[in-house]
Symmetry: C2
Subunit: 354 residues, 2 copies
């Protein structure tokens, strides 16, 4: 066994035994795309699948972090352990250092039953989504009962990350500019639980009503054809699109609750916990947990496959060959579609010509 | 020549002759990932590279669309033709039909020198980014002097789309919740021009000052190591990350202006146009235009390569083989990293075993 593999094995064992320093160390390696991390992740994979993963998403300023903080406290009070991954794909500052709200989490520090990690973009969306999935898996393997994934913003990326959860909470706040703007953001199809936070502010009731109205429209409306495609497997045509959003099946037997909270005062958060537990029970009873797990694995594999295939191609091909092709496309001697065809073919036949 | 190729050629010719119906038709085919669209795109590629591409991004509710509308009017008044692509990756409703602001664009309808197209997510972020790039290229080939790409939100995806522009305008508005939240959103490194819109509202001066402060922090601070990696080419290690954000070089010789506007009244928009023209001149004079073009082509090729490689693999491999692998990962008999290795290897050696 190589030195690297031994180190990875030791880290993995440390994590399984509850070691927090090993956990932090491995997360950093995952973030840095350290090749040794892969070995440890593979080692830990059989130990995953036990945590319940809760995604929390919503626009900036809706009070997500405060709410997550409260959820963590309540779960801890009930004796559950909780891992938190705070994803901020848009922050150029690692760990969202500019935000005051991360600091609020500090009153949870020193509790071994809680582990909090902020992740910022490392330059690429695909990289962040993959790293987040890996960190969630690590926290799962480390034995946390719940893993909360908090994503800032309501862009497709954040939505996709949150959607890789078993239970997705979409947080809104009243008076954040245009309510319809916020509500339209593709959230209807991903929310298992709606929370109107800052509900002591004027307009909370309007936000709730707007959500209700949208729910009714959503039930009647269509556009459901998106639910049928799959990123891999038999539907090869649709495969290249990798639409995690397309895979979450409709939710039969689950009525999405709309809850009003004042996160900063802890008002209404008991009801959020109740709703999470009810959703956990629903997922188990209805068999939807298996469906979501399968969809999640499929989306992850598709994502990893693309990265691996590109890496494989680049390894096989001399850098000059790619640079020449780039220069020709820039000079408009060749169009990018034809260039990609050439590169794919050259990659496939690389061993022969090399 | 196949019937498909003949049709594509005819569409391309129609577009080069200024045909708007052909343009609209081809855009729809691009959106639907119609294979025939590729032929027309390849045909049109030598005719691209003349339009100046302006990205406009900012949080929902900052008045981007109104501002874009004003910019279009002013450019038209100066005799320039303008294509607009409004990208809304989060809207489940095609074309953002729920938004009133799209309707405002209607007073530009009937002017052949303007072409406006809304694009909504078709399920996948990669798909949207690629389709947007293609539509921008089409508008470029169609001969528009300026192509404006308006993106909703401040997520990484929207930022990446806007960043594929020659000139990127980041729009802020005062009083939108937490200013720092909005400002931190990775926008410093992408903005060529800052606009504080709705400047008649209280807090506009604070927003301007906050931006100025951030600019000063940004100049002094570092974290610039991200600028060195490339998605393709010689830096193979970093290649798999595909970070368009990582590639935009620092902007020597360009001081990012902060402009105050009231879009709805047209206040300050003349200064925005002046800033755009000044930036165009700067890009040409400094040689940065070529640098950005090259970076853009590289990012696009990397994106297209990943899609093409995955499609190639899936074509070569029986669907059952992938389904079996998925089931084994779900059952935790095999970890996803090893599964991806197997699939990549099976794909590479596909012809032998088949």
């Amino acid at each position: 066994m190589s030195k690297e593999a031994t180190g990875a094995k030791r880290l993995a064992e440390g994590i399984l035994q509850g070691g927090r320093r090993e956990l932090a160390k491995l997360i950093t390696r995952v973030e840095n795309a350290n090749p040794a991390a892969r070995l440890a992740l593979a080692e830990l994979y059989p130990h995953t699948g036990r945590a319940h993963i809760v995604g929390v998403t919503g626009s900036p300023g809706c009070g997500k972090s405060t709410l997550v903080n409260e959820i963590v406290k309540q779960l801890r009070a009930a004796g559950e352990t909780v891992g938190v991954v705070a994803v901020d794909p848009t922050s150029p500052f690692s760990g969202g250092a500019l935000l005051g709200d991360r600091i609020r989490m500090r009153d949870l520090a020193g509790d071994a039953g809680v582990f909090i990690r902020s992740m910022a973009s490392r330059g690429s969306l695909g990289g962040l989504a993959r790293a987040t999935a890996d960190v969630v898996r690590l926290l799962d393997a480390a034995g946390f009962d719940f893993v909360l994934v908090e994503t800032v913003g309501a862009g497709q990326a954040e939505v996709d990350i949150a959607k890789a959860a078993h239970t997705t909470i979409v947080v809104q706040a009243p008076g954040m500019g245009d309510d319809i703007q916020a509500i339209k953001a593709g959230i209807l199809e991903i929310a298992d639980i709606f929370v109107v936070n800052k509900a002591d502010r004027p307009g909370a009731e309007n936000t709730r009503k707007a959500l209700e109205m949208m729910q009714r429209l959503g039930d009647g409306g269509n556009g459901q054809e998106r639910h049928h495609s799959r990123p891999l497997g038999s539907g090869h045509e649709a495969a290249v699109e990798l639409p995690p959003s397309a895979m979450r099946p409709p939710r039969p037997g689950w009525e999405v609750p709309i809850l009003l909270t004042v996160g900063i005062e802890g008002v209404g958060t008991v009801e959020v916990i109740d709703a999470i537990r009810a959703h956990v029970a629903h997922l188990h009873d209805s068999g939807e947990l298996q469906v979501r797990e399968a969809a999640r694995v499929e989306a992850e594999l598709a994502m990893m496959l693309r990265e691996a295939l590109l890496a494989d191609l680049l390894n096989k091909m001399p850098a000059e060959q790619i640079d020449v092709m780039l220069a020709r496309v820039v000079a408009r001697e060749i169009d990018p579609y034809t260039a990609v065809d050439h590169l794919v073919k050259a990659g496939v036949n690389g061993n022969e010509s090399g």
